[in-house]
Symmetry: C2
Subunit: 769 residues, 2 copies
């Protein structure tokens, strides 16, 4: 044995000595020093960036480390090296590690914040770890970039926190164009993807792997053990567009979208958690397009989305689809998943649209139903019975349903061979995890290669005692999936804006504009009764509430600024609540408007119990501006030339200017044009956005000068509900023209001398693809 | 050591004993015995079929052998077990071997002759070896079958001889529909694929792997070390339609077609031989569609095909192509191949058809040029200089040309970066193999993963001394690629019909019909001068020549059979040469016609120095009949209602009735309709067939009753040449309407009082897909 040891040691030394190791550590404090250190680095080098703010820094990390001796670029103290301004980081070489940097207060001057390529020099075996990218948005939402852009092979993004992207482009993208970037085995693991607000249009995925044009490539990207929290950018949280990607052990927490196999085939979706919210229909699950995907051991809780956003959406394809549209689903396996308290969790033939053949070309008709697919050994549990746990939007003969079980609390549903109602109970292991209280005795179907499903959700072996559903063993320990210390960096703690609001009293003697400018994030400005004259637009770039001190004796704000300027100028990140006030113009101004450009983030606006009058526009959203929430509640809007205009996105590429618009208990009187004008253009079945609720409101003497003759213009908006309103003496042709095929509804409206409310089933829109 | 040995022996015995071995051999002589033996078989069983003819036998070989102890079904003597009549063979199970059977004189009653599946029971690890399938055709060419149909995984077809398929359907097909049949690693190795005649339309590949609808699947089929000899069925000899297939070491000998990566990606085409013929433009090479294929170490000699049939055709794709059309070429590597005496061997953007945008929909326009592809380290050698060794049908900026060399004997050509004219010599190693006489000193380009090209054409290592071209070492030994003992069975020898012709003298006293019926294959019937009266159609089902004994004193045959019956009835395999005769009808009969149905094989007809008169039709080809060669030389056709009609395929699916039609030195006089009527319908860019040559002939007083007003109607025929003819006093609108975009030409014709000869560039045809 001794001899062997000596030989092994000698061998080790021999191998080790072949490679010149550099264990030196060099600290750099300026860009020039950093550049020099990179140029001088050799395997084993450590470059330490000094704490502090690095402004306008473009790191070009070129080098060649080795597997045992990588070259490392790290923060002196993780999180205390701030990269801001026009900055980015690009890798070119092998075995390079970046550790502990913090990107904030800036944006990339290039197409990416972090990229695994410099010109044609693609990175391999490189790593970004323990870093943060936060709100590093380009100035306008139509300026595209990626925050992390993969090329090459075997690169890793791990233990990072990434949040707040609002401009166009997926947060993370894997590029596959070129043989150097296929079979990449990249790893995106243990990250925390924090909130991404809705973009109001396409191209806002959190992760996109490939594009349709490279969807034939073998990718083998692993996305595992990440937390996706409120990733609401668009309908796809993850868009897999290549072959052999794997999605394992991720937690999708209240994220408005789905994990979608959009293009490409043979992906594995195993052991993920999808956690919804009782009231949120935007939170989806898994949406399947294409061939050979295996969806196993997933746990889906409280998901209420439908159709494209169903807990499981197995789509119809377009026969012989072109490369960038919808491939037929074939050879898919959905096995050993659990759906707990989801609404109609299993939906097949989603996107079936034969009924739209008159408004769409044949190449857009999804009539190819799923075939040669197996749905087996799944478990559905409902605390309250579901009348349609399985929804067939088209024929489902191509699907082999085997040994699925449901506890539907006795509620009847359309029976289906292979879905058996049985009685079993579930225990809450934690708030979000329910596991069967007893071993479920139902037989397990053994399909082709089902022996490869050898572990359950918790990684326990299925060999000895297999069971239907995602969990085999009732005696499991809490895996703490929402413990945020398991994801992201070891230093960043999410900045929870305190809800303790500073209250600032303002009287007529004060300068209201200054008070607002000086106020802290989240402040409340409380106005004494009286009249406040404003002569210049007040910029709103933070969260702020302006209200009357005494709601029974409202203050009045009179705006006398320039024509076509707003009293309140909504800046990026501006969140204004206006409450119990009167706001008056002089007929030529706007009450509220976004910036005309550089809306790098969204704004929100809430108006309650106010009276707004004598403006040219009540609200004008300029092109490229976006608001997640706009609401007018209990307010009066009167004597204005225009009302609420959110219709500046006229390119018909699916973009729109606001996600949620709510009008409740309001009175609109003598609003002459664009009473409500809310627009989304471009045919894209997967867009699920734009929401307008108009209820319990009255509209009178409005629309006299409206060119298109429609009082509430909602063209192309997907979700519209108009109910319990009264329309009196509005000289228009139509109160509204609703889109029947989408989620457009109306009820209990009283219409007198105001035109008709018409529903058109299939709206003709411009094709986007 | 002794202990170890004992232990190993014990272990072996233990493992061996776990599996019940059956070394028994059972001989069977009847279908019932065979069925019983199969039912009783266990691992190791050998079932021996008795020599003799087995008629109408449907073998269902179900069983479960093991890797070490397969179940074998073998001929008592290989080749002496004849399977004939309505017979087929299907496998269902594991580790089953069939050895030595001979399928002939029959056809499959099912969709396949040999199939690796019985109902839903797919075969795995099964083998067909040392068998022959010969002329086992269904009765009509539109009746589809496959002769070997793969399903499941790890099945093998080896050392078989397979020839003579003329009905619709690839000879061998691999099916990939269903997860059980993907990643199949089937092996098609060491076979001899003998002649397959042209089918006259699509679906006559020798091997097809998958279909477009399963083209996203990983297939991994290996096609290696096979000989393809005169595989002329259609434009594709091998049609690869799935991913990761490998084509290695095959010999394509004078086969009219190409190896095509029609759908699917990442195939390997390595070390194959493509051997052409000086004068045959139908013999192609390698045609590339799709992504990521590697074409390396191939040797291509004497190939004269162009465009779709070029020695290397890299195609243009359709942007965002639908699943069944043409994908763009991307990420392809063409390296270390040798083209010797090929015409314009490297063609890029093949199929570019923007010029046809007026007659084709956008979804048929191939405008997507090859991108991200590398063409490097290839060698071109021309004994006679080639002015265009590289043809760019569209832009070639997407291709990286590196370190390619050409010896063009000083002939200038369009220069191209990356193709260097240098001087080097080649030696003939054998008739068909030329290797460099000296080591070529040119630098080798090292592209991405080029280190995987570690061997050359002959399997010699490239590690020590790499070189441009397919061969690294000048000192190589003949690998005898055309030694037929290397391919196919160990018992079958190809039946070369002797060219020693029996001469049979016939006088007016003899019964001509009986003499013809009795004649051997290849006989010559020589007629004394005089008149021969025939009252019934004479069937021609073999190779036979009928001629006058004295060409200066021609015999006359008068046919007085029923109206609309032919003097000579062309049966399957009928090959008639008629020479120096007069053939006369009584106005209502046909001189020649095919069978009306059951044309299970083609017929050929050659008429020289004859006078044919007073028929309703000279030649009538019925629907589903097909002739490879029809020629009229030095003959007179006169006073007939119709001439030569080969236009029965009116379904517009690309089929046609004859491959080669030649009219030379003939006189057509008073042929009133369908003077020549030759038709192919259906738009399919890859169809290259139908050939009509009309030269040095005269046409007078013809076409008076022709409805369409065209004398020589060649609608849809790809190759037409009309030259040096004289057209006089033919009352038609057009002599011919030629298709300019195809290979239709005319020259030196004299046209008097006979309408015009018009060329239309883009013919409007029915879309087939």
């Amino acid at each position: 044995m001794k001899k062997h040891l000596i030989f092994a040691l000698l061998a080790y030394l021999f191998i080790a000595c072949k490679e010149p190791i550099n264990n030196s550590s060099v600290k750099v404090s300026t860009p020039a020093e950093l550049e020099e250190a990179i140029a001088n680095a050799s395997p084993g080098s450590k470059i330490v960036m000094a704490n502090g703010v690095w402004n306008d820094l473009q790191i070009r990390f070129v080098g060649k480390g080795t597997s045992n001796n990588p070259i490392t670029l790290k923060a002196e103290t993780p999180g205390e090296v701030i990269i801001q301004g026009k900055s980015d980081l690009k890798f070119g070489g092998e075995h390079l590690i970046v550790d502990g940097l913090y990107f904030k207060n800036g944006y990339s001057p290039s197409f990416s914040v972090i990229e695994f390529k410099i010109d044609e020099n693609k990175a391999n075996n490189c790593q970004v770890t323990n870093c943060v990218i936060e709100g590093f948005n380009k100035l306008q939402r139509n300026q595209t970039d990626l925050w992390v852009l993969f090329h090459g092979r075997n690169n890793t993004l791990d233990h990072c926190y990434i949040a707040g992207k609002s401009n166009r482009g997926p947060t993370v993208r894997v590029d596959l164009d070129g043989n150097e970037s296929i079979k990449n085995y990249h790893q995106i693991v243990n990250n925390h993807f924090g909130p991404r607000p809705p973009k109001g249009g396409a191209s806002a995925e959190t992760i996109q792997i490939g594009t349709s044009s490279t969807s034939m490539t073998p990718s083998h990207t692993l996305v595992a053990n990440n937390l996706f929290e409120h990733c609401n950018g668009e309908v796809e949280i993850i868009s897999s567009k290549a072959n052999y990607n794997e999605f394992r052990g991720n937690v999708f927490y209240k994220s408005e979208g789905s994990l979608v196999t959009r293009h490409g085939n043979y992906c594995t979706i195993d052991g993920n958690y999808f956690i919804g919210d009782e009231d949120n229909e935007n939170i989806g699950g898994i949406r399947i397009i294409g061939t050979g995907h295996w969806i196993t051991n997933n746990y889906l809780l409280n998901l209420k989305g439908q159709n494209f956003r169903s807990p499981l959406a197995v789509m119809n394809g377009i026969p012989k689809s072109s490369l960038n549209r919808y491939k037929q689903v074939t050879d898919v396996v959905v096995a050993h998943n659990s759906w707990i308290n989801c609404k109609s969790p299993l939906q097949f033939g989603v996107g079936s649209n034969l009924s739209q053949k008159d408004v769409l070309p044949a190449s857009e008709i999804r009539s190819a139903v799923p075939i040669r697919s197996t749905v087996a050994n799944n478990l559905i549990y409902n605390t309250i019975g579901d009348e349609s746990p399985v929804v067939a939007h088209d024929k489902i003969e191509g699907i082999n349903f085997k040994n699925n079980i449901i506890n539907n609390q006795g509620t009847t549903f359309n029976t289906l061979d292979g879905l058996k109602p049985i009685s079993f109970e579930m225990n809450s292991l934690t708030e979000n995890i329910m596991v069967p209280s007893n071993d479920i005795q139902e037989d397990v179907f053994v399909g082709f290669e089902f022996e490869t499903i050898d572990k359950d959700l918790f990684g326990n072996s299925r060999a000895d005692k297999n069971a239907v559903g995602a969990v085999v063993n009732k005696d499991v320990v809490d895996s703490k999936i929402l413990d945020k210390s398991k994801y992201g960096t070891d230093w960043y703690s999410i900045n929870n804006t305190t809800d303790t609001k500073t209250l600032s009293m303002v009287s007529q003697n004060d300068d209201l504009a200054s008070k607002i400018a000086e106020a802290d994030e989240g402040s409340i400005i409380s106005l004494e009764a009286g009249t406040y004259q404003i002569e210049k637009s007040i910029p709103i770039d933070k969260k702020i509430t302006i209200q009357s001190k005494d709601e029974n004796n409202k203050a009045t704000i009179i705006y006398s600024g320039g024509a076509e300027t707003p009293a309140f100028e909504m800046n990026p990140k501006g969140e204004l609540t206006l409450s119990n006030l009167a706001l008056k113009g002089e007929d030529t101004q706007y009450a509220f408007a976004s910036l005309k450009k550089n809306m790098s983030s969204l704004y929100n606006l809430k108006v309650s119990n106010c009276e707004i009058s004598n403006f040219d526009y009540v609200l004008k959203g300029y092109k490229l501006s976006f608001s997640e929430y706009i609401s007018f509640v209990g307010s009066t809007l009167k004597n204005c030339e225009n009302g609420i205009e959110l219709s500046a996105e006229t390119d018909d590429k699916g973009d729109y200017n606001a996600e949620n618009v709510t009008i409740e208990n309001c009175q609109f009187d003598n609003i002459r044009k664009n009473v409500i004008d809310y627009y989304r253009g471009g045919y894209d079945e997967s867009t699920v956005g734009g929401t307008l609720m108009v209820s319990n409101s009255t509209f009178s003497n409005c629309g006299a000068k409206e060119d298109n003759g429609i009082l509430l213009n909602t063209y192309g908006i997907i979700n519209v509900d108009i109910s319990k309103n009264t329309f009196t003496n509005n000289p228009v042709k139509l109160v509204a023209l609703l889109w029947g095929a989408k989620n457009n509804t109306h009820s209990d409206n009283e219409i007198r001398n105001s035109g008709k409310l018409v529903v058109e089933e299939n709206l003709k829109l411009k094709l986007m693809y």
